[in-house]
Symmetry: C2
Subunit: 447 residues, 2 copies
């Protein structure tokens, strides 16, 4: 049996390794267009922040290890262009422009996602960059060094944009962020978004929300980002406006696409073709709160789905329950986390959402070093169900959100959540954990 995998990132390599572990006789071919596999992509902003740290430190396992130790036929520099479902074949070109093709018994599309680039003039200039692959990361880092970058513009204000603003500031680069939409972190409760906005401002990141970008123009030194009534000069521009699933090939092959163009898969990660699986940032997932399909491209899901694909291909029927939309990121000294739905998403999913925001403390009364924690919690008026939660604070946020994630997996009501036996010790929380205070107050508001 030959198992062909398109894409050697988180989902692809997880599946390849697991398949070989479960069935050493299986022929596993991975076709990866870049030279890099198995690296911590999410670690790139933190690595870029530190000129002393080698970017190869992010590589978890080198290609040779997969080839020599795991006996995976891993072919880097192999870009697949076409899937022929009738003859069960994939074809493409190597980085030195040679054609290749492979038959498959089972195919796994793990092509990931690519940064959204607007079709505007100047976005192809060499000073304009994106951050998705390790190559991107290395390009940005060496560009900062080589050109002695003093000023950067970031287009976008999502979590990668914010993480990169921190990286730039740590390297003492003047940092300006701009985006068309006027709300800062629109998915976040307003009070909480304001805390994050302040943190960025206090760290000398200039924010220009509400400016549609018209073009990027080359200047004598660097470029300028031209918006309505605003012109921002910079040595380099990072475009971080989110990603699109790399699903064109799947579409051309006639596979079903869904939300945001992601490849539709069932709970076994199977596409509309019985012999083709898809997972990672190119595929969709079930959302356990809405019960509907969603597109939330994150690393844990990619790794987990890669394993599940391998299990299914190796005959251990495995289904994934789905995601609840948990994420966390850091903005300078702030931890920002969410899980589940915000009010808008809850309305879209047909709930009757009630939101409540509390400000509480990270440590017990009288314990030194306590920091504010802001929590916005959403429940459903009809059923009392917990729908989602967002948190911002300087400590005690990143791991606390996991309690919410587990509650959402279990469709808990806010009232039941408010009864949970959470941990207390003065250095770590008040007697009533911030999440319990949030839940207690939301229970009252739900009536």
């Amino acid at each position: 049996m030959r198992f062909v995998i398109i894409g050697g990132d988180a989902a692809g390599m997880s599946a390849a390794s697991r398949a070989k572990r479960k069935d050493p006789d299986m022929e596993v071919i991975v076709l990866e267009q870049t030279q890099d596999v198995s690296y911590s992509a999410c670690g790139m902003p933190y690595n870029i922040a530190d000129p002393e740290r080698d970017m190869d430190k992010l590589v978890v396992r080198k290609a040779e290890v997969f080839i020599d130790k795991n006996h995976i036929n891993l072919l880097t520099g192999h870009r697949v262009d076409k899937i022929d479902r009738v003859s069960k074949k994939v074809a493409g070109k190597t980085s030195d422009q040679k054609d290749f093709s492979f038959d498959y018994d089972k195919l796994f599309i793990a092509t990931g996602a690519s940064p959204i680039l607007p079709e505007l003039s100047g976005f192809d200039l060499p000073q304009v960059m994106t951050l998705k692959s390790l190559e991107h990361g290395k390009t940005i880092k060496s560009y900062i060094q080589a050109k002695n970058v003093k000023k950067a513009v970031i287009i976008g204000m999502g979590y990668i944009a914010i993480e990169m603003s921190e990286a730039f500031r740590k390297r003492n680069i003047e940092t300006v962020m701009v985006k068309p939409r006027s709300e800062f972190l629109p998915w976040m409760a307003k009070d909480l978004a304001e805390i994050v906005r302040k943190e960025l401002t206090e760290n000398d990141v200039k924010l220009h929300p509400g400016y549609a970008i018209q073009q990027i123009v080359s200047q004598e030194h660097g470029v300028s980002v031209e918006c309505d009534n605003l012109s921002l000069e910079a040595d380099m521009v990072l475009v971080a406006q989110g990603v699109n699933p790399c699903s064109d090939m799947a579409k051309d092959a006639g596979l079903e696409l869904g939300i945001s163009g992601s490849i539709v898969v069932d709970r076994h990660l199977k596409t509309s073709d019985n012999d083709i699986y898809a997972a990672g940032d190119c595929a969709d997932a079930f959302h356990l709160v809405t019960g509907q399909r969603c597109y939330i491209p994150l690393a844990l899901r990619a790794n987990r789905a890669g394993w599940a694909v391998a299990d299914n291909i190796c005959g251990t029927r495995t289904s994934l329950q789905g995601v609840v939309g948990t994420s966390v990121f850091r903005a300078f000294s702030l931890e920002i986390a969410r899980s589940g739905l915000n009010v808008e998403e809850a309305l879209d999913a047909g709930f009757d959402p009630v939101e409540n925001t509390v400000k509480t403390r990270s440590r017990a009364h009288g314990h030194p070093g306590s920091k504010p924690i802001y929590i916005s919690m959403v429940g459903d008026r009809k059923t009392g169900r917990l729908l989602g939660c967002q948190m911002v604070g300087k400590e005690g946020v990143a791991h606390r959100i996991n309690a919410i994630a587990v509650a959402l997996h279990n469709h808990m009501t806010v009232a039941d959540f408010s009864q949970t036996d959470l941990a207390y010790a003065p250095p770590f929380s008040p007697v009533w954990d911030p999440l319990l205070t949030a839940a207690n107050q939301l229970v009252k508001k739900l009536g």
Copy 2:
């Protein structure tokens, strides 16, 4: 209606305040034997550690506030000795030896717990102390100051003993711990207990487990704790061998007692007498993992149960689901947390426990500052159910345990828990959260 509360600590004052808020016309009388109400008892070790910090900083609300603002008839220095259930009366003595008695319509016993003191010679010496009330805390702190304490012996090695060892070391007091049982932290998985033991040793705390104490003897300077083959000299001795529920009065009144002599209450916190409630460290609780009664005296439960008593007395029928045995404490730079059952407890409860211990990391691959996290997880072979979890590490432990607590409330299987969508960002965790790595491996072991 007159609502009488015996004991003005967490449970008692929570109930008093809530009852007055819900029903301002209710006459609420609180009889507290000490002079202090509403303080962060758990904060005392951290306060004692710092000579600059005033111990009154731990007081959340002064007695006068409850009296003047909440109109609670709060009587400090009132020690209740007797409950007369037939005439519905409590009686006792004030601190200046005057008799008092009060009729009640509803009575709430919130007498708490008291430190276990062995009936051995020398435990009544002035150098021998315990830590439970704010008075105790103040006594210890001023004793350290006044007598310039250089050497302390702690009898016991539980979490208060360990927190106090940290406090003593911070004040540069030579610290020796001794206890009869030979296992250090016997409730903890051996590998994890060893990490904690090392942390104490590295912080110059000397440990002598396995020594039965015979007596404490007065010396020219200080005292000596005499054991078999061991004599430990000290300026002061702290006895921290756990607590017993203060339930003698309830017993004398004919109320039903249960585990460790705690007062038996139903899910509404009602005792075997229809007009008498009990909660806090003097009462038992249902354990949601075993389905059986347990005695786990902790602060969150006391506060929560106080509220529930008030709700029930005010006509809002409220029941508490129970506890899952979550706790956390700090030992120098270590966070130590648990929730649910260990192997021994699981066996006692009729499960077929399987335990697995993993060592993983607190941050992503390649992210600087990562620390080891040790997790021991227990599941039931028959049902696959998650039964408990213990964690030790220098970061990322204290709040992460809450995810386990919520899972235990929901009777999740280890396999279902391993599918949860936990948060990931490089500064806060590996892609696979340590809890997921622990669950993934335990799933395999469960077969």
